[in-house]
């Protein structure tokens, strides 16, 4: 007798012994039995007298939970240098292969992040991203975190591949846009230990010399006190990925 025959026989024998199905729910009394056909309307009636839960999105935007996994953000050090060092650990960790990074060397004339290495190309493909957050866990410099922004839809596929300039955090009140040299006398370690708290005069002087019209220089900065959320209005968009084009549609 083959194995499958054996299994068949055992199953048939077990079938013979099986008892008929009986519900575990408590049995209802006679009144309950009588009202059973209309009992379902009770749920509707009860909710007539409860507050509504309908969300008026997009007219009203409900705040997410604080740890909601939304769009990514590439953070900056307090002096404006980027935290991303282009190590690609996020890309390595990504189970959906949504992240693409290419690194390059920092040079004295083009210091983008503290240390020797920075991320020259940084792309996240939001058609692939599953918002699992493994990239955030992998990031050794806390460069990559997630915001609560969830409005990630668009009319084109290309538009949903976010480039580095789309992902970079807005400039803080005192930050000086990269590239510029590190704070003199510091190493990348000083940055990670949070010993750098903001741009120093040497850095400002360097930017003034190399990019006199940089909007993040103190003389060009809009007074932060006058417009409370001024930093958040600074958008970093490339010509191809203009904000309007991305979110309000348009031809492909």
């Amino acid at each position: 007798m083959s194995g499958s025959d054996e299994v068949w026989k055992v199953n048939r024998e077990r079938d013979g012994k099986r008892e008929t199905f009986e519900s575990n729910l408590p049995k209802k009394g006679p009144i309950g039995e009588a009202l059973a056909p209309v009992a379902g309307f009770g749920v509707s009636l009860r909710n007539f007298f409860r507050p509504t839960v309908t969300e008026q999105y997009p007219r009203v935007k409900t705040p997410t939970m604080p740890r909601y996994h939304g769009r990514h953000q590439l953070n900056r050090h307090p002096d404006g240098l980027e935290k991303c060092i282009g190590c690609e650990l996020c890309a390595w960790a990504c189970p959906a292969d949504a992240i693409y990074v290419e690194a390059d060397s920092n040079t004295p004339d083009h210091q983008v992040s503290p240390g020797e290495r920075y991320g020259r190309v940084y792309q996240i493909n939001y058609l692939r991203c599953i918002f699992c957050g493994l990239c955030i866990e992998a990031c050794p410099t806390r460069a990559l975190t997630m915001t609560n922004e969830y409005e990630l839809a668009g009319p084109t596929r290309e538009g949903l591949i976010y480039e580095k300039q789309d992902l970079l955090a807005p400039m803080g009140a005192n930050m000086l846009a990269a590239p510029h040299p590190m704070v003199p006398g510091t190493t990348d370690g000083s940055y990670y230990r949070q010993e750098v708290t903001g741009p120093v005069d040497e850095q400002i002087a360097w930017v003034r010399e190399h990019r006199p019209s940089d909007p993040t220089l103190p003389e060009h900065r809009v007074d932060a006190a006058a417009t409370d959320d001024a930093p958040h209005q600074v958008r970093y968009t490339s010509p191809q990925h203009a904000a309007g084009e991305r979110h309000e549609g348009g031809a492909v």
């Binding site: 190590c87 690609e88 390059d104 050794p140």
Partner: protein, 824 residues
């Protein structure tokens, strides 16, 4: 029939039986414990151990428990764990690795913790991250947590040893693989251990002892052991064998991660050794190339040119669409239009009074070379086809036809290594041989190397070679008149005479070498420089040679090939070589030229005039070269990484490679097949398989079909030189300004700066000038002088180094008489 009777050779090896982790293993006597463990699949962590390097026992990571029988026959354990990479096996030995011995495991974890004390935690920025033996073995054999709480040792980083090789000392675990490689294998000891204790570090040498002798690299570089600025042609290997990220290359620094890369096995296109390489690419861009292990060819090593020179094919002047000249301008067009225009142009400009000719660079594959010569002979009806874009001679062609083509595997790398004596003629092993040099150096002390050259180069000195001085172009006389002891040494079995590509510039040298071989029994090896040279000889891409070594001048040979190709007859007129074709074209005798992969600056002829005077020029090129710019139709072809094919290395070994990066680019043989269709001819070279099937069907020539061996009389050994003139000696440096090294500034920085070398007597005659002007009627080159111990009456300049493009500027080659004048 017994197994022992079958293998008498195996029984001769003395073996030792021991037990590793309870598994009995029998290995040859003298095997290291770590190797014996590998044989039974037991992995012991290691950093300093490398199978190609001598044991060092530097990193102590491979500690194992060992017990061996004492004099009384009882097992006696060593009191402490022993380094398995330095201890050889002994009979009855019992080895317990970390898998079975707690003591060994504890020792290994302790060593790992010590190694990691000063190792920075910068894996995210380190190029080795993801493929790092230290990273991997710290995970598998290290403690999960470090107990070290103090500040780690830091060094200034990176230290640039040369423009290409960067050293991050804080990552170093002092395994000394790099220093051992540079001393034992390459002979360029540029780094060594310095200081003691915690400050011990790999470092460079004191710059105060700088002793510039003309081997200074182009770029800035550290100083080596001998006090000379470091310029090694093999330095990239140290980056590959570094078990941590201490040595990195400037070209690949911070470019990528191993998991990004797709690896494809390939063959280097840079020299005739056919070294096995691994191409690592991402999204269709090559990021780096590494040495592949091929025990019979390049072992574990490749040259820096093989490793770093790959940027040329993706420069901005890369051709992707066919170009056709319209109203004097090259404009992009479609393939059908370009092919039709090319065929129409060739047809219109050739006839009874003007023939067509084909020039092929020495860089094409066997299949491409075959297609070029078949196009020339079947479609264009001419023997004017030559793949030697360099100095060439009829003597060389006769030698190649009678001795080299279709003879299969001749002298091999292994035989060259084992040869008791090697005589180098017109061949500078380090500059022109690539990994041939490393094989010769491997036998240092066991092999006698004799160089017939104007002077003993640094490369030859590293081989401990002796010099038979010869004026450039007069090597034949020196060969015929070898010292008696060398001649005697050559009669030992296995002796080899190596002829380089420059033997073609020394009249009579092939004849003399053949005479020498027949009188002493030495074997001959022809080692050309370019990767495609031997393949072109096999394919018959020479004016006087048909495929397989058949002479184009012999009726029988022609008929055999014509029958195989299914054509009535093959052209009978004697073909011209490269120089002949260029000269004829300049006189307007060539109606149409098909040129593939030739750098105009490699030829001594007036290429510009030739292109001007030729009615129609079709160029097959990867990039917009000088010749492509002057062509009427330019057909883009694939670089080696984007096609498959075969290089035949100097041994005669077929080195096939597959496509690494798949693009639309077509190989030369496919383009020529399409071109031939415009004449209604099926060339049969559409695919690599088709060409190889045809070559296999043709086979090698019969004895009666080969050309006769060369018989050329050598010129006098020392000509009478006029005052103010000298004989020009010149060859390509390995790293120079060749077209395949474009776009790689870091590599170019490791090339040697151009100098003019001459003997003290020659320099004295010029009035002790600091620099000289070497000139011919065509032009002049001015270079700083380095007085060298060399033959009088000769001046050496590099052939194509920065500021010294001999072929283009002097229109002369080695052996030519040049005017030498001292400058300020």
């Amino acid at each position: 029939m017994t197994a022992t009777a079958d293998k008498p050779a195996a029984a001769a090896v003395e073996t030792v039986t021991l037990t590793i982790d309870g598994t009995e293993v029998t290995v040859p006597k003298g095997t290291l414990i770590i190797r014996a463990a590998e044989q039974v699949g037991i992995e012991i962590p290691r950093f300093c151990d490398h199978p190609a390097l001598k044991p060092a026992g530097a990193c102590r990571q491979c500690l194992v428990d060992v017990a061996s029988p004492g004099p009384d026959g009882n097992l006696r354990a060593f009191p402490k764990p022993q380094a398995s990479c330095t201890m050889t096996v002994s009979p009855g030995m019992v080895v317990n690795t970390q898998h079975t011995s707690e003591e060994a495991d504890r020792a290994q974890k302790g060593v790992m913790e010590l190694l990691l004390i000063n190792h920075p935690l910068d894996c995210p920025v380190c190029d080795k991250g993801g493929e790092c033996p230290l990273q991997n073995q710290a995970m598998s054999h290290g403690r999960p947590e470090s107990r070290f709480v103090d500040v780690k040792r830091v060094f200034e980083k990176p230290l640039a040893l040369s423009s290409e090789i960067l050293l991050d000392r804080e990552r170093c675990v002092l395994c000394q693989r790099c220093t051992r490689f540079s001393k034992e294998i390459a002979g360029d000891a540029f780094i060594d251990l310095q200081n003691r204790g915690a400050q011990q570090q790999i470092g460079t040498f004191d710059e105060d002892v700088l002793d510039f002798d003309g081997y200074r690299p182009v770029g800035a570089a550290a100083v080596d052991e001998s006090g000379k600025a470091f310029s090694s042609y093999y330095s990239g290997n140290t980056v590959q064998i570094c078990p941590v990220g201490a040595l990195t290359s400037a070209a690949y620094r911070f470019r990528s991660r191993p998991f990004d890369l797709v690896s494809s096995a390939s063959i280097s296109e840079h020299d005739s050794s056919g070294a096995a390489i691994r191409i690592d690419h991402r999204r269709g861009t090559i990021l780096r190339r590494l040495a592949d292990n091929d025990p019979v060819v390049n072992e574990d090593w490749i040259t820096d040119k093989d490793r770093f020179a790959f940027a040329w094919q993706n420069l901005s002047d890369r051709l992707t669409r066919p170009l056709v000249r319209k109203d004097g301008e090259l404009v992009e067009t479609s393939w059908p239009e370009a092919l039709a225009a090319a065929a129409a142009g060739i047809k219109a400009h050739t006839g009874d009074d003007a023939s067509a000719a084909v020039l092929v660079g020495g860089r094409v594959t066997l299949e491409d070379a075959y297609a070029y010569q078949k196009l020339a002979r079947v479609v264009l009806g001419t023997n004017d086809v030559d793949a030697r874009a360099r100095a060439a001679s009829d003597e060389e062609q006769a030698f190649l036809g009678s001795q080299v083509a279709g003879t299969g595997l001749g002298v091999t790398f292994g035989e060259l290594e084992k040869a008791p004596v090697v005589v180098l003629v017109g061949f500078e092993a380090e500059d022109e041989g690539g990994v041939v040099f490393l094989r010769l150096r491997k036998s240092l002390g066991r092999q006698r190397v004799v160089a017939i050259a104007p002077y003993l180069t640094r490369g030859a000195q590293k081989l401990d070679a002796s010099l038979v001085p010869a004026l450039p172009g007069r090597e034949a006389a020196a060969l015929a008149d070898l010292p008696e002891d060398v001649r005697e040494a050559l009669s030992q079995p296995g002796a080899v005479v190596v002829l380089g590509e420059r033997a073609a510039e020394a009249p009579g040298s092939f004849t003399a070498a053949l005479d020498l071989a027949s009188s002493t029994g030495a074997r001959l090896a022809w080692i050309p420089r370019r990767a495609g040279e031997r393949g072109a000889v096999e394919a018959g891409t020479l004016p006087g040679l048909l495929p397989g070594g058949r002479a184009a001048t012999l009726k029988g040979a022609r008929e055999a090939v014509a029958q195989a190709w299914g054509v009535e007859s093959l052209p009978t007129a004697k073909g011209r070589d490269t120089a002949g074709i260029v000269a004829a074209a300049a006189e307007g005798a060539i109606g149409a030229l098909v040129v593939g992969g030739v750098s105009a600056s490699d030829l001594t002829g007036d290429v510009a005039a030739a292109l001007e005077a030729t009615g129609f020029v079709v160029s097959l090129e990867v990039r917009r070269s000088e010749i492509a710019e002057a062509a009427d139709v330019v057909l883009p072809v694939a670089p080696p990484s984007e096609k498959s094919g075969t290089f035949v290395n100097w041994e005669g070994r077929l080195r096939s490679f597959a496509t690494a990066i798949h693009t639309d680019a077509m190989s030369d043989h496919r383009v020529l097949d399409l071109l031939a269709r415009e004449w209604g001819v099926e060339l049969g070279t559409a695919t690599v398989e088709a060409v190889n099937a045809e070559l296999a069907a043709l086979g090698a020539a019969d004895a009666g079909e080969r050309p006769a061996a060369p018989k050329v009389k050598a010129p006098a050994r020392s000509p009478r030189a006029k005052k103010g003139t000298a004989l020009l000696a010149s060859w390509h440096q390995l790293v120079d300004e060749g077209a395949l090294q474009d776009g790689e500034p870091y590599l170019a920085g490791t090339g040697r700066a151009a100098v003019a070398r001459m003997s003290q007597a020659t320099a004295d005659a010029l009035g002790d000038a600091a620099s000289v002007t070497v000139s011919t009627e065509a032009g002049a080159i001015e270079l700083p002088v380095v007085v060298t111990d060399m033959v009088d009456g000769a001046v050496w300049v590099p052939l194509k180094s920065p500021g010294s493009w001999v072929a283009r500027d002097l229109r002369a080659g080695a052996g030519a008489v040049v005017t030498v004048k001292g400058a300020a």
